[in-house]
Symmetry: D2
Subunit: 372 residues, 4 copies
């Protein structure tokens, strides 16, 4: 959930809790499918549980912010895979099947789809959980009913025809959660501030500045890690890195002499965030430059420094993708059909269009302290 | 809810409970609007509460079934109005303003829209209530949040712009409730059986058969009442007519000699309903005829008698109407815009298309008892 | 729930729904016990489900009111048993084991305790259900957790030691439901009125008055049925008797010439009930006589007639009985101990004292219409 | 909630959220009392909100653990008061009335009772909230109904008589929350480990060892602060101390050479806690000595060092106190009576007895690493 708790103060639930919940739903799904005659061996069942329990283990603290600052060009799925392979060595190859399913290399595609697909146990759990803890009831999904209506046809996951309205509701609820919660402008600003705090800390470290930080964090500030550099030792350090390292670091940096690092850290710790405007059209370069210039003048800082406080970005969400892994309905006739095509009002086809919005962040008056 | 409890056994809540709930939401709405500076006088406030409390008073037992059998060509709204006018006489013209609002004759249109519109307190309450009691959580709506985002512009009801996803969710939830609950095929069959039980009872009564029934029910079997015939005396009788009259009547008719009346009453009381097929294309006359012929042969009955057991009909729902009373958003700029046009994915425009389905009902084997 | 809906308008749930819920809990209980190594054969399992599904089938309409008017000296449990025996004949002795369990004649006592005991599936379901539908959340019980902590020791039902606080909570919640809901004075008055309506109707019928009523109801008005008289034919009639017969009867009697029958029926139908006072001491005969005298004078009626409108009664509840079927805890040591003795504050022992309250009912001014 | 999340993984809600909830209930309480004619001035209302919002501000990270280690002989209430007085200076005496109420120096005693008493808004919120987030539904309280039944008599808070069962339920629910959640043995062990980590860190610091820690934490390790020493500067430091300082400190200490500090920190971070036994009788000194001796031998450590891993303690809870601030019922007659005396089964009197349990903690095999 990253910084959603700034907007929704109840949203303090953990990734651990989510993993347990997704595991619970997976158990239900296995029961349902077996009761419908789908053969799932004990080995496959165990592998499903391992895969769903570990699917998010590669998330660092403040997950998405990390992927763009502490490590480079690595997704959390790739890191989850590194953890699984590491555990596979320690546990005498017992995770081999789970890894195959996770990587979608198993011939029975529905096993992968249960772990990672448009209607997987991950999504069902996090939508229900996040809706519950944020207090945004419109975002809830009827996970229990959706699981009950799953089936398998030609080794692919399908939903029984009569579940069509529940699937529609699931997609609309998910869309709402994206715009109302995950892409809420205040949460996005906080995340972007954190990305910039860490980026600045790395810049300063590279320039030889000795920033106070925990050992683990210091390691990632000093080293630029991409996928190749992710040795077992790095993985160990990554696994020890948590919210405490990041927040404690910022607490120490809030008094730092560097104009950028000090101000960004203070703003984030004090929840005194940037202003943000959201539009459906991109902001012009001129507009950004104008805002930056004002800041440069006011605080006597460089354009590069100003760019940490004034920046634009893009928010994007596609409620339903008709391209790759569609949600398929199983008709009573045995025919399988994409849910978007089965819907009686073309409303799902409408939902498959990607929606893009643009934001511009810039400081409020009096948020920033003058340089030293 | 009519016969929905046959499918959803928890759905036994009452119209009285719904009236209280809608009244509660109306009180919230008045509070919200007043806190935003919308002037609502004490007289108008009182009128709103009267109008919402009485908006459904014209519903007879098994509401929609009644409108097509016991009375003729009269909607429950028209009967509600008759009750209000009747009460207005008794209460010394104190309901005059409420009636004006109910009939949409008040210049401040939002007052009527709160009672009867695309986002009125009636709908907000019944969707939430029916979702709760049926156990169909996907159908729930966040009534509290929707009410909080109401406002008035140029005397018309609007929703603040940031409420757009909640409105979308409301429309999709409503659509789901229609297809999953209100238009559920089993409930529809039961309702159609009741319509035919009452129609047959009126036919027999007209032919001089003396059917046992309560005094109130006997009156409506003996008389064909349209809007003009709805005297105060008739209104009094109508108000005394309840589920107990109808069900007790059927219990007495279940043993009746008339093949149609006896069988239909027994089927409904024993929940041994007709089979029903639903398609998106109409059923051909030939198909209906074929089914009826079989029945005629098997039971030695006339085509007219068979038509009580084999019939087709149409189910129709429009999730959102762009034609008359649209739901309007109030943008920050002060501009007002139809929610369907404001939506970023055209999905609401898709929802404004009417969806029609067709059903065919016919008896299962061995449901019907042979004649005498 | 009888007339609880007069106080709690959401309380319209049905006995059918309750039977399904109790059945669901029984399935959970069987799963839990089997997972702990308690042997339950397929036959025993099936018998448990039959017994719990049918445990309440002997309830007539407005259950407890019936036991004291329409039939004489027969409890609903005895009638449930008659139904089971009747079905046992029809179903080729397949209910024999269920009946044995229901009658507590099976050597494995815990089977009976699951159906009928201080912590049976019946109570767990109705407390949770009634709390939910009345909106009295303090009365809810954590049925799921209690079931999870069940076990069997020496063929008797026990609760694992760590469940002690949940059991305490269960007993206190049940006590609250009794005083707040089941014994709520308004519901009690309504029930007592119904008992008197039916008693009067039987009196008048015995005197030769021809009261309009459905065939089924007429039978019970004409005949005094005790346990011996409960032939299969009577059982058939009893099973057809429902709320519709009773309420329709009262609707016809509301205009009756008999002062008592007419007024009582009207009062109940119009929810214009008697006043009621509740005290911890009995009301004196003098007090009752005084109230009756006033009525006799005012309406020129006999003392016998007045006694239908002015009467006293007793409300009694024992939150926990230490005498017969106690709730036993299984300690880690394997020892079994009565929960009241295990409790660390003697508060459960306090709860085993019976609490008695007394009520006096009498008419409000202007409730009763003058004779003729 | 301290470490309750180790047992109940959903229990990650914050003190900030609790303060908002208690404030919300206070607003309801003010509304209810005013509607019953209790005069509450705008100044008093504002003071109530300030007092309830700030009532817990003196809690440090892992609250109760702090009171016994980082500071000495100071309760969080005393620190809350220091904060309020500090804010009172900054805000130009605007908190004077709130402080008076908080300290119970205002003549209208009910104002204090709403903030801090046996049925205050603090308790109502935290019981409901903790029950919700832990998923222990038996612990929930009907806060809304309890607030609705509040009244004031002779400037003291009372509950209307008919609320007696809700009060009983509140006391039993609270008792359950204590034994099931707040005093859960696993949470207690974790808390005791933290107390000992901090105590050891202070010992080592006093001996001149230079432990890595954040500036704030270092200050409290270096100084022994009692009430007199709590200057504005110390208060500032205390307010900056949070979970991040403590956990980050432990992460740095987990590798420390000191046998005690290193092992305790590791155990807590890895959730590899001590074993714990709970009894109603105290553990003998001999028993404790025996356990310690084993440890001394095995790891070649002193008795003092062993005492950090083997220790006993006391758990105590009194569900209801009849001594000081009782919960009083207002009878219809206007008489006021202690709820324990009004209860019809003496069960509340039973609940006023204090319950004491004793625990013994000691290490599992292989939890502790050998010295260097």
């Amino acid at each position: 959930m990253g910084f959603s708790y700034i907007v929704y103060p109840g949203a303090h639930h953990t990734r651990f809790h989510h993993a347990l919940g997704a595991m619970f739903l997976m158990q239900k799904a296995v029961q349902v499918l077996q009761s419908k005659g789908v053969a799932i061996s004990i080995k496959e069942e165990e592998a499903l549980y391992i895969a769903i329990l570990l699917h998010d283990i590669g998330h660092g603290p403040f997950s998405h912010a990390m992927e763009n600052s502490i490590v480079e060009n690595i997704s959390h799925e790739q890191i989850s895979l590194l953890f699984m392979e590491n555990l596979n060595q320690k546990f005498n190859k017992q995770l081999t099947l789970a890894i195959k399913i996770f990587k979608d290399e198993h011939p029975r595609k529905f096993l992968h789809q249960l772990v990672s697909g448009q209607l997987d146990m991950d999504r069902l759990d996090y939508l229900k959980r996040d809706s519950f803890y944020t207090g945004v009831p419109e975002g809830t999904v009827n996970a229990q009913r959706l699981v009950t209506m799953l089936n398998v046809k030609d080794d692919k996951l399908v939903v029984e025809e009569k579940g069509i309205y529940s699937v529609e509701n699931f997609l609309v609820a998910r869309r709402l959660m994206y715009w109302q919660v995950y892409l809420h402008k205040t949460g996005i600003v906080a995340e972007q501030l954190l990305v910039r705090v860490l980026k600045r800390a790395k810049q300063l470290t590279a320039q030889g500045v000795d920033l106070p930080a925990s050992d683990n964090l210091t390691f990632f500030l000093n080293n630029t890690i991409n996928l190749n550099g992710f040795s077992d030792e790095v993985l160990e350090k990554f696994s020890s890195l948590d919210d405490y390292d990041i927040i404690s670091g910022m607490k120490m940096w809030a008094g730092n002499d560097d104009f950028v690092l000090g101000n960004l850290s203070r703003m984030l710790l004090n929840r005194d965030l940037l202003k943000v405007k959201v539009k459906s059209e991109p902001f012009t370069t001129a507009k950004v430059k104008e805002k930056r210039s004002k800041l440069e003048e006011k605080y006597h800082i460089s354009e590069d420094e100003a760019s940490f406080f004034v920046f634009t970005g893009k928010l994007e969400n596609q409620a339903y993708s008709m391209e790759k892994d569609t949600i398929n309905l199983l008709k009573k006739s045995g025919k399988v059909i994409d849910v978007a095509k089965a819907s009686d009002q073309l409303n799902l086809e409408a939902l498959s269009k990607s929606v893009v919005k643009y934001y511009l962040c810039y400081p409020k008056n009096n948020t920033i302290s003058h340089r030293g």
